[in-house]
């Protein structure tokens, strides 16, 4: 018999949290790629502030992933 004792509720919650935070990080990466693509069409002076905001959102995404892993 396969030992499934590791499949506790806590473990399942952790897996689910990691999956959710990975979805957030992938979505963030796509939006970031989109921002770079748009800036390539014409140079907006708001690019740097947008990068700062993206940086904050990225930081939160990574923090969420870390909190899920710990």
């Amino acid at each position: 018999m396969i030992d499934l004792s590791f499949l506790t509720l806590d473990f399942l919650f952790k897996i689910f949290k990691v999956v959710i935070s990975l979805v957030n990080i992938i979505f963030f990466a796509l939006v970031f790629r989109n921002l770079i693509d748009r800036q390539a069409s014409y140079n907006s002076i708001m690019y740097v502030p947008f990068l700062v905001i993206m940086g904050c959102l990225g930081l939160f995404s990574v923090l969420f992933l870390l909190s899920a892993l710990i």
Partner: protein, 180 residues
């Protein structure tokens, strides 16, 4: 005709098709009023989620489950924040540019969808001004339709403020180019 102040104002903007001697005369963007419905919807959604996350009575006695629900709620808030920022970027980067040589329509929709239409001023046939919809009526927004000759694509400047001046500017520019 464009004022020298306008030309000076947009001097720093360079789009990827621009020639060296080409000047940007006007940059137009859809009015922010049109974007307000989804902004309000997002604010309501985030408020409800934050209320759920902070309300202890909703969360069960089980500390593991309670922590998990809080995590899901705050992850959703982060997801909505990224999604809304992307929508804001769509609005911000979707512009209509009037240059000394052409009209450009940069349209960005969802992730990875863009539509860039270019129309030379010499190909302009007619410029139409339209006022449609309740919001447009209330906030004085209009749509300027530029019809072009032959197979050239038509350009719509949707929900912009000061449509009369834009129509006048494009007509003047087209007339001047065709005189040369």
């Amino acid at each position: 005709m464009p004022r020298p102040k306008d030309i000076e104002q947009h001097k720093k903007l360079i789009f990827y098709l621009q020639h060296e001697e080409e000047k940007v005369l006007k940059i137009l963007r859809r009015s922010l009023v049109i974007e307000l419905p989804w902004v309000f919807l997002s604010i309501i959604m985030v408020t409800v989620l934050l209320l759920i996350g902070s309300n202890e009575t909703v969360i069960m006695d089980n500390p593991e489950l309670s922590g998990f629900i809080k995590y899901i709620v705050y992850s959703l808030v982060l997801f909505i924040a990224i999604y809304d920022f992307n929508r804001f970027l769509n609005w911000f980067y979707s512009v209509n540019i009037i240059s000394s040589e052409r009209l450009l329509d940069f349209e960005f929709k969802e992730l990875g969808i863009k539509n860039i239409v270019e129309c030379q001023l010499k190909n302009i046939q007619s410029v139409t001004l339209k006022n449609e919809g309740f919001l447009s009526f209330i906030f004085g927004l209009s749509t300027v339709q530029v019809l072009t000759s032959g197979d050239n694509p038509n350009i719509d400047f949707e929900f912009i403020a000061g449509g009369n001046q834009i129509q006048d500017l494009i007509s003047d520019l087209a007339r001047e180019i065709n005189k040369k």
